[in-house]
């Protein structure tokens, strides 16, 4: 570790305070990464327990009440505490200012405050599990009127999610401002790395969509505490209004989850193919197009809700439109391998896997987007499989790719490549064994969120549970490799992969204010094999 590394520059405080009171974007990034992976770990355990309950029909290890709380908490943690903050708040915080040649984000104190909102929201959710009526049992979607009637601690949990929303909005404002104002001299918009473009698009979604969630959750709290009747038909309210409001945020939110993942893999491919990205502008604009069109498709979560047929038709149409920019990205990634000089190491392996699994997730999304087929698969295991392919196979695999890719930059150490490959094989097998049978279950008519099921569904349920063990083993090996390498790994040079973006021009780990001298940018981000 270089003497001037940010690890050796704690600032005004010492010990744990030098982390939780730090305004250094790199320290805050690491705070996010450690806290969100701790929550991820909890939610994985809940997921494994859920699968264990489903290994056979009837009661296996828990009651129906417990099962419903477990799948709700699994969803709430994975969505709001892991995958929404995920890549932007964790890796984005650490890497983005480095990539644009800045010393920090635009508002370092607000950045710290975002983390505090995040951790407060997480603690409130944690408290909600063990107080009042116990862990919420509504599913992460909190649909009314059930979420109003249930005696479980929905109010407090929803307030926790509200706090997380503030955190996310502040991060969005911070990143958008940073990207506008703090780019290094010479870094024009079309010289920015595409990861930065994806964070920029994500930032706007966070700013514009999250307040809708905040409002919805406050209405829900008012309804629960005071019986306002916003959503109660007997008081002139409407349960469908809740669904609309909820998805006006929660659909754009899936782009908050996936866009940064797409951005991360776009960084990885050129580095290991040793060539420029294919279609830079197409990829940048498709990020904006996804963010823009993504606002207008929330209704596709409601194709069987009783919404008007006209609305269903229009939302189905718009949903297919948003599929196009995602397709464009996939084609550009594949074309970026063409005539490259490819070194297939773990970050690229995870990236290729991301493209494969995300393609399955995206293509099955077409089945959900078409009205006739949606009516059939809506609310079944098909949907569960689809979003785990996009969110886990997509976002999380891209996250793993990015973690391996930027690990040397963040920690100043190398991980063990052979172990990373072993973990990848197990993860890939486990993932597909766990989630693929769910597509079949869905097409056979098995509804989701069922504690118990008819005996004819058992073969696929059993295979899926076995898959959960394999996947968990893969995760354990991967995290063992990464965590142990923080302490025992070989020292990493400033640019171990031969990357061409600015974060690789500084030392690993970077010094307190990132660069000795601020870099001056003279060309695009992906220049390989050219004489400078």
């Amino acid at each position: 570790m270089t003497i001037n590394s940010f690890y050796n520059t704690p600032g005004r405080h010492t010990g744990i305070l030098s982390w939780i009171l730090s305004t250094d974007h790199k320290r805050i990034g690491i705070l996010y990464l450690t806290s969100m992976f701790s929550f991820f770990f909890v939610a994985v355990i809940l997921g494994v327990l859920m699968r264990l309950e489903l290994i056979a029909p009837g009661r296996t290890i828990m009651s129906a009440t417990t099962y419903n709380a477990v799948f709700t908490v699994h969803g709430v943690i994975m969505i709001f505490l892991f995958i929404i903050p995920g890549i932007p708040a964790g890796l984005g915080n650490f890497i983005m200012p480095l990539q644009i040649g800045a010393r920090d984000v635009a508002f370092p104190r607000i950045n710290l405050m975002s983390w505090w909102f995040y951790i407060s929201g997480a603690l409130v959710i944690l408290v909600s599990l063990f107080t009042g009526g116990g862990a919420p049992d509504t599913g992460w979607t909190f649909y009314v009127p059930y979420s109003i009637m249930t005696g479980t601690n929905v109010t407090l949990a929803v307030f926790g999610v509200f706090l997380l929303g503030i955190s996310s909005t502040l991060t969005g404002i911070n990143f958008v401002t940073t990207i506008h104002r703090l780019r290094a001299p010479g870094m024009k918009w079309f010289r920015m790395p595409l990861f930065v473009w994806s964070l920029y698009a994500t930032g706007w979604v966070q700013i514009l969509a999250t307040p809708v969630l905040a409002l919805t959750l406050l209405l829900l709290i008012a309804e629960r505490l005071f019986g306002f009747g916003f959503f109660d038909p007997s008081k002139g309210g409407d349960p469908l209004m809740f669904e609309h409001l909820f998805w006006i945020y929660s659909h754009p939110a899936v782009y908050i989850m996936i866009l940064p993942a797409m951005g991360a893999v776009t960084e990885i491919i050129p580095v290991f193919a040793r060539r420029t990205i294919f279609g830079y502008k197409a990829i940048a604009f498709s990020s904006l197009a996804i963010a823009g069109a993504g606002y207008l498709v929330w209704g596709h979560h409601m194709f069987t809700s009783g919404m008007s047929d006209m609305a269903r038709m229009v939302f189905s149409f718009l949903t297919f439109i948003v599929a196009i920019p995602s397709g464009i990205k996939v084609f550009n990634w594949v074309a970026s391998l063409y005539k490259g000089s490819i070194e297939l190491v773990s970050p690229l392996l995870f990236t290729i896997t991301f493209i494969f699994l995300f393609s399955i997730g995206g293509l099955t999304g077409l089945i959900n987007g078409a009205l006739a087929t949606n009516v059939f698969v809506h609310g079944t295991y098909f949907i569960v499989a689809h979003f785990h392919y996009t969110m886990f196979g997509g976002t999380a695999f891209a996250f793993f790719a990015a973690l391996h890719f930027w690990f040397p930059k963040i920690t100043g150490r190398m991980y063990r490549e052979s172990l990373a490959i072993k973990a990848w094989i197990i993860l890939f097998i486990g993932f597909n064994v766990l989630y693929f049978p769910m597509f079949i279950l869905g097409l056979e008519g098995m509804p989701r969120r069922y504690y118990d099921y008819l005996p004819r569904f058992q073969p696929e349920q059993f295979i899926s549970t076995v898959g959960s063990w394999i996947l968990a083993a893969g995760l354990a090996i991967m995290f063992y490799n990464l965590i142990s390498s923080i302490f025992r790994g070989e020292k990493a040079p400033g640019n171990p992969w031969g990357g061409s973006t600015l974060e690789w021009t500084t030392s690993s780990p970077p010094p307190h204010e990132n660069f000795e001298d601020l870099p001056v940018v003279t060309g695009g981000p992906y220049r390989f094999g050219k004489k400078e």
Binding site: F278, I324, I342, A370
Partner: protein, 304 residues
């Protein structure tokens, strides 16, 4: 064995095959190209890369072709859906009531059932309401689904074109008994259906004296056991004559479980909720006749 897996309701399944076909082709293409490039342009074989910035013609091709394909998918999906939304005029109307956690079906002549009985080849229109939270009526064999929403009426229709028994599920999470909100669709021959349809009085009478049958029909036993184990609500066993702590209007008080209390618990379940349980039971007002209520109370009295 579930024989109707993707072989019925040709309309939906054709859309499915169309989309799946294109999707599989795309997936194979992308995967093949990736693997091919990984092998062919491996650093050992190809030490120097060629920097290709892009190709406008290719970008246009892979924007336009997918656009045409997805618009075709949208169109077929919409056409298939339109059929689902337009029930034939002569369809047999059946009123479906969803509540936590059971279905009931009411027919034109007043006949009621907890399984959906329909005659072969006569289109059926289901008019769906909910008494409490959002549910969703899902019959996989006929590829149909629509939510049951409190405060509004929704509908579905299908043509029962093959004799048999098919699953009917609730597919919108509705609380702790969601997984047990399952019923059946019985597609009968015209003759069998007419015989069942006509015999409503006789069918209702013997049932009226069988407490267990009544409780099963009204899904009481999803939450209350008869053997003393506590699930979602208190067990019926030994409850009669017991002193229970209940919450009335937010205040705790003690009551003796007597006939009057049991009756009130059926009609106004939220009035006095036994401490430690959630106020989630739906009112049985209208669902049970006075005679049925007294049969149930007699049964609980004897359950020591």
């Amino acid at each position: 064995m579930y024989t109707t897996f993707l072989d019925r309701s040709a309309n939906v399944d054709n859309v499915m095959f169309f989309i799946v076909g294109i999707s599989v082709f795309m997936l194979v293409l992308v995967t093949f190209l990736m693997i091919f490039f990984l092998v062919k342009y491996n650093r050992k074989k190809n030490p120097v890369a060629e920097n290709i910035e892009g190709n406008l013609k290719l970008e246009i091709i892979w924007t336009v072709i997918p656009t045409i394909l997805v618009l075709a998918m949208f169109y077929y999906g919409w056409i298939g859906f339109k059929i689902m939304r337009n029930p034939p005029r002569d369809a047999m109307p059946v009123k479906v009531t969803a509540r936590m956690w059971s279905w009931s079906f009411a027919y034109e002549n007043g006949q009621k059932s907890d399984e959906l009985n329909v005659p072969l080849n006569r289109p059926v229109k289901l008019i769906i309401i909910s008494e409490d939270v959002i549910h969703s009526l899902f019959i996989p064999a006929f590829r149909i689904k629509e939510d049951a929403v409190p405060g509004m009426e929704t509908y579905l229709w299908f043509n029962p074109d093959k004799i048999g028994t098919y699953d009917l599920f609730c597919s919108e999470y509705c609380g702790v008994g969601h997984h047990s909100m399952i019923s059946k669709v019985n597609v009968m021959s015209q003759g069998d259906f007419s015989r069942w349809y006509a015999k409503k009085e006789e069918a209702a009478a013997p049932k009226g004296r069988d407490a267990l049958a009544i409780m099963k029909k009204n899904a009481c036993l999803d939450c209350h056991t008869t053997d003393g184990t506590v699930e979602i609500g208190p067990s019926f066993k030994g409850i009669f004559g017991k002193k229970e702590k209940v919450i009335t209007n937010g205040r705790e008080r003690e009551v003796v479980v007597d006939e009057e209390y049991l009756k009130r618990s059926l009609i106004e379940p939220d009035a006095d909720v036994v401490k430690g349980f959630d106020a989630i039971m739906p009112s049985q007002k209208g669902a049970l006749t006075d005679e049925e209520i007294s049969v149930i109370i007699e049964y609980i009295k004897d359950l020591k």
